[in-house]
Symmetry: C2
Subunit: 250 residues, 2 copies
């Protein structure tokens, strides 16, 4: 499994991914799920992927092999807009499906992939897209400023409580790490290290990109404080006023 999330905020983008891949519980490995195409001062594209590892790697290769292409619509280093970049990723998914789809179906393997693409290209705002296995996609809005792919449920409640487009990058980063932590605790197929990228609007370069291991002092500190704080908060909430002889279920 995998857990990736990304937020499109007024100040920029926060993107995070775990690094665990499993094909059955006896085949667990570490693979990076974040890929970056960058030309400082002009473009930053960040792709997060979940699903079948062979398919996600094939899609990334399909994108990469066009980075020196003369056709700008197929070249991530040349596309004119993030929308065009999302189309390019969708077309790469379709190209892999054309090559491998029939064989996978025959083997009973689902064509399982989902992707998040975020970034900024000079002349545009930062944008964030989620791309489906069919190659179609949706874009984040002010009302729905974050996307998740993979094992999304454990880490969703904190996002719903905390994140809006006004959230600043520092707080959004903190929230992304806690969302990852909740997921890692509840599902052993999601694991460290965390690939974290914080993109500041209009910087047009990657300033903050960290691979967070289990010994990262900040990550350890906030996860510990969050756990202790939750238990403390739980303790101080009042106990139920009913507890004996109270049958009111009708």
């Amino acid at each position: 499994m995998t857990y990736c999330l990304a937020m499109a905020l007024n100040q920029g983008l926060v993107l995070a991914a775990d690094s665990r891949t499993n094909a059955g519980v006896d085949h667990i490995a570490t693979f990076r799920k974040m890929r970056i195409w960058e030309r400082e001062g002009e473009r930053v594209l960040v792709l997060l992927s979940a699903g079948n590892l062979a398919i996600t790697q094939a899609v990334a290769s399909e994108i990469d092999r066009h980075t020196h292409d003369d056709t700008p619509e197929r070249n991530p280093m040349a596309v004119a807009s993030l929308y065009d970049a999302a189309r390019l990723v969708g077309e790469a998914v379709r190209a892999v499906h054309r090559k491998d789809g029939a064989a996978l179906r025959e083997a009973g393997v689902e064509f399982n992939i989902s992707l998040i693409l975020g970034g900024q290209i000079e002349g545009e705002e930062p944008r964030l897209f989620m791309i489906y296995a069919a190659g179609n996609f949706i874009e984040a809005t002010n009302e729905t400023p974050y996307f998740q792919i993979g094992e999304t449920k454990y880490g969703k409640p904190i996002l719903d409580r905390v994140v809006s487009v006004e959230t600043d990058l520092a707080r959004a980063t903190k929230c992304a790490l806690l969302s990852l932590d909740s997921t890692i605790r509840s599902n052993m197929t999601v694991g460290l290290p965390i690939d974290l990228l914080v993109y500041r609007r209009d910087s047009l370069r990657v300033e903050t990109h960290r691979l967070i291991q289990d010994n990262d002092p900040y990550y350890k500190d906030i996860c510990h404080r969050w756990g202790v704080g939750l238990r403390d908060l739980f303790q101080v909430l009042p106990d139920p006023p009913w507890g004996g002889g109270d049958k009111t279920a009708g």
Copy 2:
């Protein structure tokens, strides 16, 4: 969808279920998912169900129609142990599968049901079982004192942080309600009212059974305080020490 959970603790059992049923988003209704067989001073059996509503109702009817049966192994009011009661429920699932399984398969409908059975029969400890669609089952232990069925993921992190067999009934009840609240917030196919039953060890009768609506003052109060407390806790956690020019992802 549905969300039910149950805990087997040193002090007794806590069982809770939401009441929403949906067959597509345009067919949402309220159905109770908790059923009780009780003879004060002798036995309390509580059954929680998730899955296809027609199947869960058929299983409950299959159990009910034996409540005056002379064969004690088939009669929930006569079985000698909770283990025998879990077998009886499993057999009821199998009986429904024999009757309806083929027709459902033909219609492309999955035989989808999962159940939790908890309670106490005189002469035994309180016990808790989870019963699968195949009619087989597992029992809760000191190491794994709770079971969930249905939409289980949103409400799991708080259980993992708070619940152990030593948790007292009041705190476990509080935790169950917060776990339901997290799920209800994140998935619109899980909804109020909450059917809540707290069983005190060796009482051999249902003392606390409440149907919690959205105007329940205690439920409203703890959910509100929990939400505010989480946001406050999040705010006081330190912001990340990195934030610009920090590329260490290697």
